[in-house]
Symmetry: C2
Subunit: 299 residues, 2 copies
């Protein structure tokens, strides 16, 4: 991530306990971000108006400071924050993309079983905000990148692709590009939504465990069959050639471990099976795997 | 649509009954399309190797022909083809986008109740192909635009946006752009997939009619609440300003008639309600409504 001057996080200087409404985030220049300048009133006693957590964050991340009259400006580098869960396939997708693009990020675990997606989470200078203010859907993944707060994997990927051109995920070649769009869209709109944990819980509760398994097998089978057909004329080492592209970052979470977890027979899908084998050898994918994440349960 | 030289539909000249594998579609220049040149062997008897339907299609659409040795090249203008159903909200979305972009298209109705998505459909020069060859998922919408065959609404919209810049659906402004991505993504990955007809049939079959209604209300409520929050700082006359954008083409099908159809109370969503009121006054949306489509049942 390139460090550039961008956003001022402005605090009113005369209050010790500022509420969230006192914090205004605004951009000096829209398309640049990564470096924060924090403006705070300073008194004889020190950094008035900041919490201890914020002061500690500043000391850790400060690149420079400027004194001007009764204000001090702290120039800080803030990493992108990724709200993620090891249980979430689209979080897995975004972790792969961030790694491929060489973006350093802070992993913010959201424990879905503890319903943390509906609880306050700590984010510097946003105080302890409800996760619903980061993503009103209450789903992971979500990112905070400077003054950009964004959720939903497809939206995040389009944003990353535009802002961080390293390792493009959308190919220049039209035929390959639209196959990537279509494959990603099959995963995001026809597979992943129907295999979300709450949906599977609901099916099991209303119709029983066998029906849940049939449901998972039906949607995996339907989507895998379509993807196998769609990709057969485009695949190389990976889904649409010899580079990891959009289709791959969406497919990998469903091809690594997922079929085994649901005892799903992959023998009818030779292309997808070989993609799955190829993916586990890619370091960016291997490092993004659920069991490598800080929130993965040890026992 | 600009008429440009693009694709050669090549038939082998020595066979009367060519199978689908004899038909090769290829592009002369990748990013231009709209005008077809059809190459056919010609004999003393006339247009050998063409069906009557194809000959009739050529006569209707031919812009020019060129004779060269034993071949004749027919230059034809072919409209974009949209495979659509009045029952499908993403088909509605694509119809709005095509109209806004001023793209003339041929409406190919797919009757979902008659399972036509799994039956052969007529498409010039593709013979009667299984719809599954157009979209291996068996879902509408799908488009054929020259040599491009593409399905899934998000994929189609990204393609249209890149190829047909008239009435951009993705704003230049970064903040507005990502809100559009996120809103579109909420509809395509968290609302529409769970409200598909087969999913609702399944819930009704396994858990009863009341559960189906609760299911619809739950997902409409969850997504509408998130969208209301997401859009509140961005809305103008429409979802993210005073122009119809990506968010709007996705929202309109769920705000026009849909809540009434499921007896869903919109009073908690004043912004979305006002967007719904605004949409029905937009001719491109009004003309894309299910009841204006050729496949809408008369009785």
């Amino acid at each position: 991530m390139v460090v550039r001057l961008d956003t001022l996080v402005r605090y009113t200087s005369n209050e010790n306990n500022h509420s969230e409404s006192d914090v205004t985030l605004y951009s000096e220049e829209e398309n640049t971000r990564g470096l924060y300048v924090h403006w705070v009133g300073i008194t004889a006693e020190g950094e008035e108006g900041l919490t201890e957590e914020e002061i500690s964050y500043i000391y850790k991340n400060m690149l420079f400071y400027i004194l001007r009259r009764d204000r001090v400006f702290f120039g800080m580098y803030m990493k992108m924050q990724l709200y993620s869960s090891y249980l979430s396939t689209p979080s897995f997708t975004i972790r792969i993309a961030l790694t491929l693009k060489g973006l350093d990020y802070e992993h913010k675990s959201v424990n879905l079983f503890k319903k943390e997606q509906f609880s306050p989470v700590y984010s510097p200078f946003l105080q302890n905000v409800e996760f619903l203010k980061i993503n009103p859907m209450g789903y992971v993944p979500a990112i905070i990148d400077g003054d950009i707060v964004l959720a939903d994997s497809f939206a995040i990927l389009l944003y990353l692709e535009e802002m961080y051109p390293r390792h493009p995920l959308i190919p220049c070649d039209l035929a390959k590009r639209i196959v990537n769009y279509q494959a990603a869209s099959i995963v995001t709109s026809s597979m992943q939504p129907l295999l979300r944990i709450p949906v599977m819980f609901y099916i099991e509760e209303k119709a029983g465990l066998d029906e849940k398994i049939s449901w998972v097998h039906y949607y995996l089978g339907k989507c895998f069959a379509a993807l196998e057909t769609l990709l057969k004329d485009h695949a190389g080492k990976y889904a649409t050639g010899d580079e990891i592209m959009l289709a791959d970052v969406y497919l990998a979470p469903f091809l690594i471990g997922y079929p085994q977890q649901y005892n799903f027979d992959m023998s009818k899908f030779p292309l997808l099976s070989s993609l799955g084998d190829a993916y586990i050898k890619v370091p960016a994918i291997e490092n993004a795997m659920p069991e490598k994440q800080p929130d993965f349960p040890i026992n």
